[in-house]
Each structure stands twice: as structure tokens, then as C-alpha cells.
Symmetry: C2
Subunit: 290 residues, 2 copies
């Protein structure tokens, strides 16, 4: 790998995993943290070679000559972790541009002092490797009803390699007509609504049906993003990222499903979310293609 190749490798964005976890922004991707750039180039060349096992096609998948393009819709009111989990994993892909897109350039709050800066839909590339929709409740319903968001998703449907969502983000894909005839999943709250979009609901952490890849609620975004990483950059690279983020989960309780949480907790949650579910039902009825 020569210097130009290396610059291309990192120029698309943060070199993420390549520079450890230490790159606070895109600008710093080119100033390697603890090593001079020449040394870092050698390290990265070796890293890519190791994971590609000497196969030129595998190398090209790990670090494509033409940067990958990923668009993530960052709408106000999304559940922040739905987006931030996958974003963190996607940020570790080499030679990858990530676009946080919304109707306009905006500082979108993700709560508690966290802000996302968006790019307008109009400035997002046409040809995408991944388009991604996070979930939420009221913000998600607003996105389902938003003509510009629907138009953006439909405009990218044919030219995008993977059309994806996590959590109630599948409601937005469904509203755009993009799940019709596909197997899909959603947050447990809205899972029952998938058939209304002509989708076949599957109770699985991540559901892959041709180029539709949907994840279950919130934290399914990690399982989802590692699968996407494998599809884009190969299994060795996905495994390296899984080790990087030490994803060997061990939840303190078995309460991650309605059944596992038990009737007391699941009942309390269902009652708390009852009005949200009703609001989703209304939105589904209103946005369902005629």
C-alpha cells in the first residue's frame, strides 16, 4: 500500500478501527495517534493483508478503491442508541463515507448534550451501499408521515445495495413501501404491525431477505451492524470489529424479550407504551399505500 492508497483508505472518514478508538473526528484521521504516518501505513497494510489472507479480492472488500457510501437517517426524536450503535461499528469500516442525512442541514439532538450534524437529503449520493433508518416513537411516526423522507427512501430504493433498519425504523421502511414482499423484524412493540406493510414478520434478532436487512429493538443494532460489516467487508473484518468492541455479551438479566422479562415487567412496559402503539397503528393506517 503506497501513501496515496493509504490516504484514500482513511480520507473517506475516520479510519476507525485502524487507528484504534482514538480519532475524535475526520480531520484527525490523517494525523495518526501514536505513530508517524509512515509507520501507521505499514501497520495498516499488514492488518489488511492479515485479514485478507493474501487474497486481492478480499483486500478490495476490506478497503475498496472507491469509498463505500452509507446514509443513516438522523431524524429528531429517534432513539439515539438505534443510530449510535451501528454508527460506531460502521465508523470502523475502512474507506467508507457515512452521511447522517435529514431534510436539512441541522443540529439534531440525540438527548443529554449529544448532537448530530446532518446533511440534507439533496446532498446525499444517489448510489449507496447502505441506507439505514433508526427507530423511536413519536419522531418515527413523524418520519413515516414526512413526504421528503418517504421520497428520499424511494429515490434510493433501486440504487442502494442494502436497505436497512433497526427497531421501529422498519415502520419507516414499511411506510415507504420498501418491505412489501419481504421478511422483516422490528422492536417487539411494533412487530405485529409489519404485515400491514405487506411484510412477513419474523421473530429474529436480525432478518435478512435479499437486500433488506432489519434488526429488532435498539441493541439489535450491534448484531445488525456486524452482519452488515460482514456483508460489506467480509467475515474476517467483521470478526476483527467484534473483537475490537469486545462484543461477548452477558446481560445481567434475561429480560431482553417479553417472555424473558416476565408478566410483571412486560405488563408494565406494555401499558406504559400503549399510547405509543396506538399512535403507530394510526400512522400505519394513514401511510399504508393504497
Amino acid at each position: 500500500m503506497n501513501r496515496r492508497d493509504f490516504n484514500r483508505l482513511v480520507a473517506a472518514g475516520t479510519a476507525g478501527l485502524a487507528v484504534g478508538a482514538a480519532v475524535p473526528d475526520e480531520a484527525q484521521a490523517l494525523t495518526m495517534p501514536e505513530l508517524p504516518q509512515d509507520d501507521m501505513m505499514k501497520v495498516m497494510t499488514r492488518f489488511v493483508d492479515d485479514l485478507a489472507e493474501g487474497d486481492p479480492k478480499a483486500k478490495e472488500r476490506i478497503s475498496p478503491s472507491v469509498p463505500r457510501q452509507i446514509a443513516m437517517i438522523a431524524y429528531p426524536g429517534m432513539f439515539p442508541l438505534d443510530l449510535l450503535g451501528p454508527l460506531s461499528v460502521f465508523s470502523d469500516l475502512l474507506s467508507t463515507q457515512i452521511h447522517l442525512v435529514w431534510k436539512q442541514k441541522q443540529q439534531v439532538s440525540a438527548g443529554r448534550g449529544v448532537t448530530l450534524t446532518t446533511t440534507p437529503y439533496s446532498e446525499c449520493p444517489q448510489k449507496l451501499d447502505v441506507v439505514f433508518v433508526p427507530g423511536g416513537t413519536v419522531g418515527t411516526i413523524a418520519a413515516m408521515k414526512d413526504a421528503e423522507t418517504m421520497a428520499f427512501l424511494r429515490s434510493r430504493a433501486e440504487s442502494t445495495r442494502y436497505i436497512t433498519s433497526v427497531c421501529t425504523g422498519s415502520m419507516v421502511l414499511g411506510a415507504a413501501g420498501l418491505l412489501k414482499g419481504y421478511k422483516a423484524t422490528s422492536h417487539w412493540l411494533t412487530h405485529e404491525l409489519l404485515p400491514q406493510f405487506g411484510a412477513t414478520p419474523v421473530k429474529s434478532r436480525v432478518v435478512e431477505d435479499r437486500n433488506r436487512i432489519t434488526g429488532a429493538g435498539v441493541t439489535a443494532g450491534l448484531d445488525f451492524a456486524l452482519l452488515i460489516t460482514a456483508r460489506l467487508a467480509g467475515e474476517n473484518y467483521a470478526k476483527a470489529e467484534q473483537l475490537n468492541i469486545e462484543y461477548d455479551p452477558d446481560p445481567p438479566f434475561k429480560a431482553g424479550t417479553v417472555k424473558g422479562a416476565g408478566p410483571l415487567v412486560a405488563g408494565a412496559m406494555s401499558r406504559m407504551y400503549a399510547s405509543s402503539l396506538e399512535a403507530f397503528k394510526g400512522a400505519v393506517a394513514a401511510t399504508k399505500p393504497a
Copy 2:
């Protein structure tokens, strides 16, 4: 719960879980998403009652009269998900103020268009329920060497209920002398360095020893934050949050540990991170209390 109680419940910040996932910022916490405030109060009263199983002490733990105080050090160069995972879970605690703290008020980049707005250490409450340190590489090493950060952590050591970290954040706690005589964990890369701080290294997802609670790498922050939630708000509330974020993990590979990743992937990662490990070793030697 009367209106004042409910305002207190949400006024501390986003009412998080209480209002679904739809609250984009603190201001909107008081304008409930799909329900009028009076109705939302009823819903929340019922929710708290359900989870408290009618026990007044349990109610007080779920929604304390005096808001909880959590400080999370948001330093430049942290690994974003180390902080954003736990932040998302902590944001769903009721009656809880979260302070993203750093040396000064600053827009700290968390990469890819994500920004955290920090509060200066000097404005952070003295009495905290939780102080938390995320990990990273070069940024973490800088934090270990930063006198203000060390002084902040030491100043809160006696008055804080839980002193915590995720990932290489334990290196920062160690550098401040706060892990001496405690069992602890860290990201797999730096786990071997824990004894240098007088800590007893434990290979576990989350390690709890008296009031020190440390998590392993990056995604261990979810397991960690649910345990903290249980300690602060009780097991029912923690289970409700686990169901809320549908944390029923199912990674696509078994590569979340060095052993599981296998020699090819783990070898590539270890070589890629070799200079980071050396930099950590140097920092540990330099910051070790005499």
C-alpha cells in the same frame, strides 16, 4: 403522583424510558409526546407503581425525591460507544441528572458528526451517585496524564456512591489510584496492565467489588449500565429497561473474545494495536503512584 412530583420526575432531564424513546432533548421532556401531560402523569404513576409492586421504598428507588447525579467524563478521543451505550441506558433512569464533564465547557467530537457538549469539572456536583470513565486509546492516555482529570476523580472518590469505568477507562481510574486493592476489568488489550495499579484483574464482563464497578471493552457498557440501573433503581426497573432496549443479544460470530476470534483475527488485531499497548504501558509507568 401529583403534578409537582411528575415535574420533578422528568425535570431532572429527559424522562427517557418514561416517554418512550421519542424525546430529542431535555426541553421536550416536559412536553409529552403523544399524550397530554395529565394523561402521561397517570401512565407514569401506574408504571412506577407496577414496577415498585406497591412498595414505597421501591418507588423511591425508581424515582428518588432528590434527583440522582451521574457524571460521565467525556474526553476528546474516547471511544464514542463506550460512553454512548451507558449514556443511553442512564438516560432512561427517572429523576436523574447526567453531567457530561470535562476540563472545560467544550464541544467534544465523538466522530462522524456526533458532538457532546461538556460541563466543566468545576460545575459538577460534589456528591455523585455514579462517576464514569469511558475508554479509548490516545485520548485515554492523555486523560491518564491530565492533572485536572486526576484531581477531579480523586476529589469525588469519597463522596461518590459508585466509581465506574468501561473498556480502557479503567486505566484512568487506575492512574488516579482508585483501583488499588480492588478487583477490576478492562478492554482485553489493557487487561494485563491492571495489576500495575494494585488492582486484581478479573476476566469478566462486569466486575463489581464494593463500590468499584468496571466493564470490559466497549459493548460491555450495556451489561455494565444495566447492572448500575439495578443497583440504583432496583431489578424490576433494570429489567424494564433491558426489555425497552430489547437487549437479547445474538452476535453473528463468536469473535467477541481473543479466544473466540481465533489466531488469525486476534493476531491481526494484536499487531494492529501493538503500538497502542506500548503507549498504555508507558503511561501506566509514568502515572503509577510512587
